[in-house]
């Protein structure tokens, strides 16, 4: 056992931290988030140049990392900067599925993704599906040498700026069957693909997508027909590690802003940090953040284990980070008082993102239930 970062990862961490601190102040982040694209293509190019997208892919795929701890180190720092660029959508999710299922031809897209030249998005969740990974009702039926896709996709991150979409659809079985889920890699401008983009409350961009008789060639199918589920599950496990690590960065920023405020804001003639009730609550916040960090380390390190142990660790991390993230966000706002309710102050933007992470790829209740199911399956 060893709890120190490798030298490479320590360097990566420092580099991202420095870049974000120097180039991504909060006003700039607001400007970027409110732009039409919802992110900055210029920033994206710089991130690519620094190798940050590549850090999320294995050497085999043309990257130089791709392990759980690479994800967690990078996303923690992205969280600290409230970075909105599509690392999750393009690299972890779409890139992750292509990497697992793609043939050589399809995988050639990875080079562009890593270089930042092409953007991809992962159109998987559906309007009635909530967080369930196998809730695919979108259909794909096979004709002579092409497939026809019909259905709807919900809250797809960064789809409205994507060049490529990884779309899941069902060739057999009922919704909630794991078997029968297919994945396709298609250009986002394929006929019949309608994308309606919108902002999210925490400053990201997402889209509703409708697929109306979308015709795609056989060569768009990723992997074997109906066998995409395990790759989807794995990509989302990695996405959850990324989100949990991002939440650690956010929690620590919320903590630091609040500590600073407690030391400087005076009421009743003393800094409010002198009030014992707040001190004790803050001590709880600090203690719990250490717990969340441990859970993320466990999940990142266990990504290579068997499916059940891997998924249990991921669900543990997402549950604890959801619970503790909410505690941190709500306590930080409450201890600040009114100032934390205002747009022009920094804290609420971190708090909003921290809360909304619970709505991506499974909230506290979903992951708790999933953990219980996995435990039961393991015991059986």
């Amino acid at each position: 056992m060893d709890f120190t970062l490798t030298e490479d990862r320590a360097m990566l961490k420092d580099m991202v931290a420095r870049f974000v601190a120097d180039n991504y102040p909060l006003e700039k982040r607001h400007e970027i988030a409110e732009s039409t694209d919802g992110f900055s293509r210029e920033m994206w190019a710089q991130f690519a140049e620094l190798g940050l997208i590549g850090a999320l892919f294995s050497e085999e795929d043309g990257g130089f990392g791709g392990a759980g701890f690479d994800i967690s180190v990078l996303f923690e720092e992205l969280g600290r900067g409230l970075v909105v660029e599509p690392f999750l959508a393009s690299a972890i999710l779409a890139g992750g599925v292509i990497s697992q299922l793609g043939d050589d031809e399809q995988k050639s897209a990875l080079a562009d993704i890593i270089a930042g030249g092409r953007l991809a998005a992962f159109a998987h969740g559906e309007p009635d599906g909530r967080y369930d990974l196998s809730a695919v009702k979108t259909t794909c039926s096979k004709g002579e040498d092409r497939w026809t896709l019909n259905g709807n996709k919900a809250v797809v991150l960064n789809a409205d700026t994507a060049d490529l979409l990884v779309v899941t659809a069902r060739s057999s079985g009922d919704a909630w069957d794991e078997d029968g889920v297919c994945a396709f890699l298609i250009p986002a401008d394929t006929d019949g693909v309608e994308i309606r983009g919108y902002p999210t409350i925490d400053g990201l961009r997402a889209s509703e997508i409708s697929l109306n008789n979308v015709k795609v060639p056989d060569s768009a199918l990723l992997g074997a027909e109906g066998k995409a589920y395990p790759a989807v599950e794995m990509a989302i496990a990695r996405a959850n590690v990324a989100l949990c690590a991002e939440s650690i960065g956010l929690m620590e920023v919320c903590r630091d802003i609040t500590l600073e405020y407690l030391k400087t804001r005076k009421q009743f003639g003393v800094p409010i940090g002198k009030f014992q009730a707040l001190q004790h609550r803050m001590a709880t916040v600090l203690t719990e953040i250490e717990q969340a960090r441990s859970a993320v380390i466990n999940a990142a390190g266990r990504l290579t284990l068997d499916r059940i142990d891997r998924e249990k660790a991921v669900s543990t991390a997402k549950t604890l980070c959801g619970q503790i993230g909410r505690l941190v966000a709500e306590e930080a706002i409450q201890m600040h008082g009114g100032i934390a309710m205002t747009w022009e102050y920094s804290l609420p933007h971190f708090a909003k993102r921290l809360i909304m992470i619970d709505h991506q790829f499974g909230d506290v209740d979903y992951h708790m239930a999933r953990y219980i199911e996995l435990s039961a399956a393991q015991a059986a």
Binding site: P127, D128, A154, L278, D365
Partner: protein, 398 residues
């Protein structure tokens, strides 16, 4: 002990229902029940309808136009109004300033201002908090210096809710720096049109404009606008805050918000089954229902108990704490109920007249924003920490 409504109470409830049925515009209740933003005219319109019926001032003595209702009647009216989708009554003139005027104002002030509150001539806002004086209100710095038959006011107020619509502001100002901080405060009524007043919006974390900063730059206020005595304003301010906290339990509104959550939980599906049948969700929902059911009785019990006046401070603190905690729990669970559809946020969709197709279910648009916006309720009106301090001082002598 009797938990049932008496025949008179039932008759009153029917009367309220009939009134709401006949007088509350459908267009207005639709807006309220779907979480759309209300305009100034929406709020003022409902105020006028209530005033016409004589049901506006439920906390005033009858001689000034109050309803004369007891605690149970007030609760019935609140429950029914909320359930029907009536907008909340803007409290600044009616529920905050008026009790102070009635108790401490001069006859001239009462005669002039009270009718104008009722008929809508004046829209009041509150000038209490300052950037450096939040929980520690007594540290306020806005100065009022006597100059002949005027005060000259300089300083800044903040968190002025709906100040953008107001033509009047009641202010706590410092008229003396001697003695304890509480001792040099006075209570002034100020016309918002007076030269030297500037109103600047504060945008809240979810992007709305509800509150404002108000700047005073050599603003001349006639001395007859002073309430009571100079330097005694702290007494009046505390009286007002106690009244504010009593209203803040918000049982009726919480019941409606909970009913809306149940409605959503029946429509949302989890693995093809209604979310409300999911054991974890059901448990969270049941907890809130139980808490609110007890809270509703706590509210009536404390408000109607004989010692309610003596213990008004700590009792209303308990109601504030529990009422706001329950409301935040409802907001939190409603947010969760939506799953991924809590994320989309198209601000225009909250304005009446937006006619594009909603993103996700039609009830989704305001939910996350409401959750964030309602973080304020445990902060304002004396934060819940301040309330806990009041309870420990007044009920426990700690």
């Amino acid at each position: 002990m009797d938990l049932n409504y008496s025949d008179e109470e039932l008759a009153f409830r029917d009367e309220v229902r009939k009134f709401l049925d006949e007088e509350l515009p459908k267009s207005l209740s639709d807006k309220v029940l779907t979480g759309k933003r209300l305009t100034r005219d929406d709020m003022q319109g409902w105020h006028d309808i209530l005033n016409n019926r004589g049901w506006l001032a439920d906390g005033w003595p009858e001689e000034y136009g109050g309803t004369g209702w007891n605690a149970v009647q007030k609760q019935i009216f609140e429950d029914e109004s909320c359930a029907a989708g009536a907008p909340r009554i803007i409290p600044f003139g009616l529920k905050m300033l008026a009790p102070v005027l009635i108790k401490y104002g001069s006859d001239a002030q009462k005669d002039y201002y009270l009718p104008r509150i009722l008929d809508g001539s004046d829209w009041w806002c509150q000038g209490y908090s300052e950037p450096g004086a939040g929980s520690d209100l007594a540290s306020l710095k806005t100065r009022a210096v006597r100059d002949g038959d005027h005060y000259v006011v300089n300083g800044q107020k903040t968190w002025t809710t709906l100040g953008q619509y107001a033509n009047k502001i009641f202010c706590l100002v410092r008229t003396s720096t001697e003695g304890k901080p509480q001792e040099g405060i006075s209570f002034l009524l100020i016309d918002m049109d007076t030269p030297g007043i500037t109103v600047r919006p504060i945008i809240l974390l979810e992007g709305t404009h509800e509150v404002n900063e108000v700047f005073f730059d050599d603003v001349r206020v006639p001395v007859e606008n002073l309430i009571g005595e100079e330097n005694k304003g702290w007494t009046y301010a505390k009286y007002l805050l106690t009244h504010e906290r009593t209203n803040i339990a918000n049982v009726g509104a919480n019941k409606v918000a909970l009913a809306h959550l149940r409605h959503i939980a029946k429509l949302q599906k989890i693995r093809e089954k209604p979310l409300i049948e999911d054991p974890y969700f059901a448990q969270r929902l049941a907890q809130i229902e139980m808490d609110l059911d007890a809270m509703s009785t706590t509210n009536l019990r404390l408000l109607s108990s004989p010692d309610s006046v003596a213990n008004a401070g700590p009792m209303s603190s308990m109601l504030k704490i529990k009422g706001t905690e329950i409301r935040q729990a409802i907001n939190d669970l409603t947010r969760r109920a939506l799953g991924p559809y809590a994320m989309p946020f198209v601000s225009e969709a909250l304005d009446a007249g937006y006619n594009q197709e909603p993103i996700g279910p039609d009830y989704a648009a305001p939910v996350a924003a409401d959750y964030f916006n309602n973080r304020k309720i445990t902060i304002y009106g004396g934060s819940n920490e301040i309330q806990r301090g009041i309870i420990s001082k007044m009920m426990m002598g700690l």
